[in-house]
Subunit: 444 residues, 2 copies
C-alpha cells in the first residue's frame, strides 16, 4: 500500500508519523513545496520577537528524523496536478526543474493555506510582508532588526495582526494597525474587541478602525499606506488579512470545495473522491454545533485530523468529532479566548447571551484580576452554545472547561453544578464561568 | 413559612441569601454557635501568613448585611437538641446562658465540621492549635508573630497541613511535618505525594513519614512531640488530621448518618426526616461516579447545596448533581489537583491508569515547565474515571477540563478529540490531558 501525502507541516506529518508507528509496512511518500517540515507556525510571532531564539526551535522533527523512520520525504517538490481517475499526481521538482508523475493507492492532501495578499496598487513594492510560513518569519526576523525600519503598519486586526503587534512593540517599532471592521478581532464579540483595543492602545499601538487600505506608494520600498481617509508613513508593512486554502492545483478536478477553495471532508476526513483524504488548513471540517462545514484553519485540527487519517488507514474506525470554534491568543499580557459560537454566529438558534465580570481568583487573594465573560445559550434547551473570555490571567485554560461543556451538550444548570476544583489562589468558590451560568434564567 | 438554619457559614448563608432573593416573604432565622458568619475558610492559611491583610477580608458578608436583608441572625447561639416530631429545636444562648425552644416549618442543618483533635497524652497542653474556624486563624495569626515561636510541628500532611507548611515557612519558622501514611496528601496517588514531598523538602520542610504521634510533653506549653520512633522539640503544634461533622447534637434523633456522623442527603439535599435539609461540611453527598454517599467537606459543595435548597424551597426542581472528588491546592509554587477517582479508589471498576509528563505550554515557548498527569480510566467503557495533576503552572484550571469531561461521561477518545483552544504561550498543540488520553489503548 502506497500513501502519498502532499504537504509536510502539521496535518501531513502527524498522519505520516502516526501511521508509521501503527503500521511500519506502509509505504509513505511526502511531497512538500517548501523547504521546512513539521514546524509550529503558531510560534512564529515569538521567534520574530526574539523570545524564541532559533527558527529551529519551532521545528518539531527534522526531515532527517522523518527519513530515519522510513518516510520518503521530498522537499521543494510542488504537486501541480491531480488525476484521480489514474490515481496519479504530477510533481514539479523546484530545485532542478524536473517534472514527473507519481501514483498512489491513497492520497492525503495537506497543502495548508497561503496568506492572502491585498490585490491593490503598489502591492509589488518591497517591504510588504506576510507571516504564513517559517520562511516568512525568517525574513521578518531579519528585516525587523534593521535600524532603518522604525514605522510598521499591520493590515488586519485578527489573531496574527494582534500577536504581531506585540512582537513589533517589543522590538521598539512604531505600530499602526489598520482594520476594516469596527473592531479588532472581528471573529469575537465586540465586548472582546473593545477590551483588546483598550489594551493595544495602552501598549502604544495606534489603531485605525473601519479603514480600508486602498493603495501603497513608494519608490522601491513601500513608503505610504493609503486608506480611504488617511495616509500613513511606513518603513514596512505586514499584511495579516487571512489565509486561503492552497488548493488551486485542484481546480480541474471534481473534488468538492467551499467557495474559498477549502476541501470538503466528512468526519472520516474523506473527500468526495475515492481514496483521497484531506486535512489541515486546506480543508473545511464538520462543525459540531451547526452541523455545517466550517473553515477554521488551526494547528489543533490539523494534528487531530492527521491522527484520525493514520488510524483509519491502519484499519481503526476513528472519527473526527468536529470543530466548535475554540481558540485563544495572547495580546500583550491579555488572554483572549473563545469556544463555540459567538452571539452573532448563534443567531440561527433561539439564543441569548449574558456578560459578566468576575475575579479570576478569590477576591481577597492577592493579585486577583477581572475576567470578562460572555456566555451564549439556547433559550429552549438552555445548552451553552458559546463562551468568550478576556482577562489578564486564568482565561486560557478556563475556556477549555467551556469547550468541554459545549462539546458534551451541557446546559447552564449543568455547568453551575459541575464539581470544579477550587482554592483561593486559583478561583473564587464559584468559578467565573459558573457565576455567569448561575445568572442564566432559562433553566429547563 | 418559617425556615430555621443552624450554622451561618457557607451552606447556611448561601441558602439564606439566595432564598431571600427568590422569595422575600419567607421568614428565615439563623442560629450560629460562633461569632463569625459567611467567611472563606479556605483563605485562612493566607491570612495567617499575612498575604491577606485582615481577617475581615475573608468575610463575604457581615452579620449586619444579612440582617438588612431581613434574615434574623443569632450569633453565639448553639442548637443543642432537635425534636423532629414537634418540629422544634432547643437553643443555648452562649453569651447570656439563656435556653429556649424554637419551632420551624423547614429546617436546614448546616453546622459544618470541627477539627479532629488527637486523643493522646498531653493534648491539654497549651500551644496545640487547629485551623478549623476564623477564630482559630486569628489565634494562630497572633501567636505565630511571637519571637519565641520558632519550631513548629504540623501533625498531618493533608491539604491543610501542606498549605499551612507554606505559611509557616513564609513566617520563617522551622517546620516539621509528621504524617502517619507513607506519603503526604494521602488522598492523592503516590505519584502526587512524592512530587509534593520533594517540593516541601526543597522549601525547608522536614518530613517525618509513616510516623505516628503518641504523646505531647511539656510543662504548661507543649515542648516535645513524641512519635513512635522520635522526639521532636517544638514551640508550637498545629494538628491538621482532618475534620468531623458537627452533628453530635443529633445523636438522639433518627436522622440517618454515616459512621463519622455525616448526615446522609439525597440529590434534593433532603435528610431521611421530613422537612429537614442538610448541607455543607456536616453532610455526605451523592458521588456521581460511585453512586454512594461521600464525605468530601468542601466550600464548593456547601455553596452549591445551599443554592439548591433555596431553589427547592422556593418551588423549583433543582437537584444537586453530585460530587466527583475535585480539589486543588497550592503547595509553595506547586499546583496540585485531582478530580474523579484516584487509581486506588477506582479499584471497584475494571480500571487502569497511565502517567505521563508533558510541558504546560509549547516546549519551545519560554518558561515551559512539566506537568505530571495520571489518568485513570475504565477498561471496558474507556470512560475517564479520574485525573491527578501536579506542576508549577497550568494545573489548577486544566483539572476542571478533566472534571467536566468526567462529569459528562467522556471517553479517552472523546477527550483526545475535544476542540481545545491552543496558543504556544498556554499549551502544547495537544493539551497534556489529550496527550495522556492519546496513549490510552482501550478505545471503544
Amino acid at each position: 500500500m502506497k500513501l502519498v501525502i502532499i504537504g509536510a507541516v502539521a496535518a501531513g506529518m502527524s498522519a505520516a508519523s502516526k501511521l508509521k508507528r501503527l503500521d511500519p509496512s506502509i509505504n509513505i511518500t511526502v511531497y512538500e513545496k517548501g523547504k521546512d517540515v513539521s514546524y509550529g507556525a503558531c510560534g512564529m510571532p515569538y521567534y520574530v520577537s526574539g523570545e524564541i531564539e532559533s527558527d529551529q526551535d519551532l521545528v518539531a522533527r527534522t526531515p532527517e528524523a522523518f527519513r530515519k523512520k522510513g518516510i520518503d520525504l521530498h522537499l521543494k517538490h510542488e504537486v501541480t496536478h491531480l488525476e484521480p481517475g489514474n490515481k496519479e499526481i504530477r510533481v514539479h521538482g523546484l530545485e532542478n526543474d524536473t517534472k514527473f508523475s507519481a501514483t498512489y493507492d491513497v492520497l492525503l492532501i495537506a497543502t495548508g493555506a497561503s496568506a492572502i495578499r491585498l490585490p491593490i496598487e503598489g502591492s509589488e513594492l518591497k517591504g510588504i510582508h506576510t507571516l504564513g510560513t517559517l520562511e516568512d518569519s525568517r525574513r521578518l526576523h531579519k528585516v525587523l532588526r534593521e535600524e532603518t525600519i522604525k514605522k510598521v503598519a499591520i493590515i488586519g486586526g485578527g489573531y496574527i495582526g494582534v500577536e504581531i503587534s506585540e512582537t513589533l512593540r517589543k522590538l521598539g517599532k512604531e505600530v499602526t494597525m489598520i482594520e476594516q471592521e469596527a473592531h479588532v478581532l472581528p471573529k469575537f464579540s465586540s465586548m472582546v474587541g473593545e477590551t483588546v483595543e483598550d489594551y493595544l492602545r495602552e501598549n502604544g499601538v495606534e489603531l485605525l478602525l473601519e479603514e480600508r487600505v486602498e493603495k501603497y506608494t513608494g519608490t522601491t520600498n513601500v513608503e505610504q499606506v493609503h486608506t480611504n481617509s488617511k495616509t500613513v508613513d511606513v518603513d514596512l508593512v505586514i499584511e495579516a488579512i487571512g489565509v486561503r486554502p492552497a488548493t488551486k492545483f485542484l481546480e480541474k478536478t471534481d473534488i468538492d470545495r467551499l467557495d474559498n477553495g477549502a476541501i470538503k471532508v466528512n468526519d472520516a476526513m474523506e473527500t468526495n473522491l475515492e481514496a483521497i483524504y484531506a486535512a489541515g488548513d486546506c480543508a473545511a471540517y464538520p462543525h459540531k454545533l451547526t452541523g455545517e462545514l466550517a473553515y477554521i484553519p488551526l494547528g489543533t485540527h490539523a494534528n487531530k485530523a492527521g491522527r484520525v487519517i493514520a488510524e483509519r488507514i491502519s484499519g481503526m474506525d476513528s472519527r473526527f468529532q468536529g470543530v466548535i470554534g475554540s481558540s485563544v491568543l495572547k495580546a500583550f499580557e491579555l488572554e483572549v479566548a473563545r469556544t463555540g459560537l459567538t452571539t452573532e454566529e448563534a443567531k440561527a438558534f433561539n439564543s441569548d447571551s449574558i456578560t459578566i465580570k468576575a475575579p479570576d481568583r478569590s477576591g481577597y487573594y492577592p493579585g486577583a484580576t477581572p475576567i470578562n465573560i460572555q456566555v451564549t445559550y439556547d433559550l429552549e434547551t438552555c445548552k451553552i452554545l458559546g463562551v468568550e473570555m478576556v482577562g489578564e490571567q486564568g482565561v486560557a485554560h478556563r475556556i477549555n472547561v467551556a469547550a468541554t461543556a459545549i462539546s458534551s451538550g451541557l446546559t447552564a444548570h449543568d455547568v453551575s453544578q459541575l464539581d470544579m476544583a477550587y482554592a483561593p489562589p486559583f478561583s473564587p468558590v464559584w468559578d467565573p464561568l459558573q457565576t455567569a451560568c448561575n445568572q442564566i434564567k432559562c433553566r429547563k
